[in-house]
């Protein structure tokens, strides 16, 4: 049937893979959108990399797709950038291009997008980890792959290099139409970059859907505790130069965050971890918490012997709050209650 990957009307990509290796069994049958970035999130050992390798055709003998790896048109960005040490950067990024039947991507644009202009004549062994990863990503994109697989491309970088590379990934997302599957075990990275989210556990996909929707579910053990949180897209409204705060507006109100974000930025993605949200029955006045939003309780679910997750509707968006079950009982929190959410900390996608 040859259906490892099929494009249906350019709207979705079907991933169907099964593989057994010792105690581990991978069994995936899911569709993802053919645009944007799909996050593949799971613990180590959950089968993330194995799934990517199956999609690329690198797991031998287990594929329904008769095509060899080099004819699949699927790009693969490894955790450790795999550059060819005997070729300079220019020849590295042209390697795939020369072997590609047709390309729709403009080389100059990719070089510019990934900031490689000054690196083209260098050899890979003189590049930093972040630079090498940018070169690897450029090489992959230039082939105009039908799908790009990124296996924790930031994991081998230190925090500073990560911060350095992330804006480039943001730009890829904004300016290129190629679909990307982005593997990560960092919910922050996934929340920041992705539009769609797949959760994988022990070789099975346990949730698949639009990012906001999956993140706001309360029934997923993987997304309880410190991974629980929601994402809100807001737009900069006003900058307070005295305290260096920017007020960001969304359907549920205004959130003030440190730093300056220009109004021309189309939207700013905010991640609010559930453990940073608390609930008051009346509007708190004497509080150090800057951001207080009127909310309605949408759902309450216990997530352990002592904790509970509360989903709060704020305008058309959701916030999650991780609180104790004792507090739920003491305040008698239930669906439909009008409450106030105190947001202690907001992570902003720059």
């Amino acid at each position: 049937m040859g259906q490892d990957i099929n494009l249906f009307l350019d709207a979705s990509i079907a991933l169907k893979h099964a593989l057994r290796r010792g105690d581990f069994e991978l069994d995936v049958d899911v569709q993802i959108p053919a645009t944007g970035i799909t996050g593949l999130f799971g613990d180590s050992g959950s089968g993330k990399t194995t799934l990517l390798r199956c999609i690329a055709g690198l797991e031998t003998g287990m594929s329904h797709d008769p095509r060899p790896v080099h004819k699949r048109g699927i790009g693969y960005v490894f955790q450790e950038p795999q550059l060819f040490p005997h070729l300079d950067v220019r020849r590295n990024i042209e390697y795939g291009l020369r072997r590609s039947p047709s390309t729709r991507v403009d080389q100059g644009q990719v070089v510019e997008l990934l900031g490689l202009g000054g690196l083209l004549d260098r050899k890979p062994d003189g590049l930093s980890g972040g630079e090498a990863q940018r070169v690897a990503i450029a090489s992959v994109l230039l082939r105009s792959p039908r799908l790009v697989l990124m296996d924790e491309p930031l994991a081998s970088l230190d925090q500073r290099r990560k911060e350095e590379l992330l804006p480039y990934l943001d730009r890829l997302h904004d300016e290129l139409s190629v679909p990307i599957i982005y593997v990560s075990h960092s919910i922050d990275e996934v929340s920041r970059l992705c539009d769609h989210l797949l959760l994988i556990d022990e070789g099975k996909i346990v949730a698949s859907g639009e990012l906001h929707e999956v993140l706001s579910r309360l029934d997923l053990p993987m997304l309880s505790g410190s991974n629980a949180g929601s994402v809100i897209d807001a737009s900069p409204q006003r900058y307070d130069s005295v305290y260096n705060l920017t007020e960001l507006g969304f359907s549920g109100g205004v959130l003030a965050v440190p730093g300056r974000y220009e109004a021309r930025e189309r939207s700013v993605r905010l991640r609010i971890a559930a453990q940073d949200v608390s609930i008051c029955l009346s509007r708190p006045n004497a509080t150090t918490i800057l951001n207080v939003l009127a909310a309605e309780i949408d759902d309450v679910q216990p997530v352990g012997p002592s904790s509970a997750l509360v989903r709060l509707a704020v305008g058309s968006e959701y916030l999650l709050a991780l609180i104790t079950r004792r507090s739920v009982a003491r305040l008698d929190l239930k669906k439909g209650d009008q409450v106030f959410a105190q947001v202690k900390s907001v992570t902003v996608r720059h």
Binding site: L58, H70, I74, Q82, G96
Partner: protein, 227 residues
């Protein structure tokens, strides 16, 4: 080059160099796929193949030479076929020496190549495949250039080892001037006839060559690894 006794030591020297060069080229060509297969396979036949390739290192050259003599002789499997093809015998000929040398020096070509191929990061090859390179394309465009050291090592060792062979040549090639009388045989001859002057000249030449080649290789290796 005239020797002290007036006989030419140039002919055996050139013959040795020619033999070593041809053997090296043949060994790179056939040793590369063998080394690649050994470096990539999980087959249970791998240890068997490895043992066969490495055998010339431990076998006395006379044993190898004896079997090759039978194999290459006019009644042997290869020798008989060669006689049919060319009308000439393989034993006691230059072509026979090349074949014998290839067996004799095979491990010295295969092992450096295999080591180089085994140290290639697997993911670099996988990346080349996902970038549109077929396995053969990736081999030539990525694996070979990344294994230059292995190829240099294989060539140097094959050349030097073939230059120094004696027992196998004596068994298979004999001592025919201009055809099979290589330098090591010529040295043996000189000593047998108590012509120590010639023996000294040729031995010193080989001694110097061996040192220069090995020294050069280790210096290059050091540079490479320091980089």
């Amino acid at each position: 080059m005239e020797s002290l006794s007036g006989t030419s030591i140039l002919a055996p020297l050139l013959l040795s160099a020619q033999l070593a060069l041809v053997t090296t080229i043949v060994l790179i060509v056939i040793g590369t796929p063998i080394a690649w297969w050994l470096s990539q396979t999980d087959s249970r036949f791998k240890p068997v193949a490895q043992a066969i390739v490495a055998m010339p290192i431990v076998l006395p050259p006379t044993v190898l030479g004896f079997y090759l003599l039978i194999l290459l002789g006019p009644n042997g499997a290869i020798g008989g076929w060669w006689v049919q093809l060319t009308g000439n015998a393989l034993t006691f000929s230059f072509a026979g020496l090349v074949i014998a040398s290839c067996f004799y020096s095979l491990p010295f070509a295969v092992q450096p190549l295999q080591n180089a191929f085994e140290s290639l990061p697997r993911q670099t090859l996988e990346f080349a495949w996902t970038q549109g390179a077929s396995k053969l394309d990736a081999f030539f465009s990525v694996a070979v250039p990344m294994s230059v050291r292995g190829f240099v090592g294989a060539a140097v060792l094959s050349f030097a080892h073939t230059l120094g062979e004696f027992g196998v040549v004596l068994m298979v090639g004999g001592n025919i001037p201009g055809e099979t009388r290589v330098i090591s045989i010529a040295i043996y001859d000189s000593v047998e006839t108590l012509n120590y002057g010639d023996a000294h000249q040729m031995s010193l030449l080989l001694l110097g060559f061996a040192f220069v080649v090995l020294f050069g290789m280790f210096v290059v290796n050091r540079r490479w690894s320091l980089r």
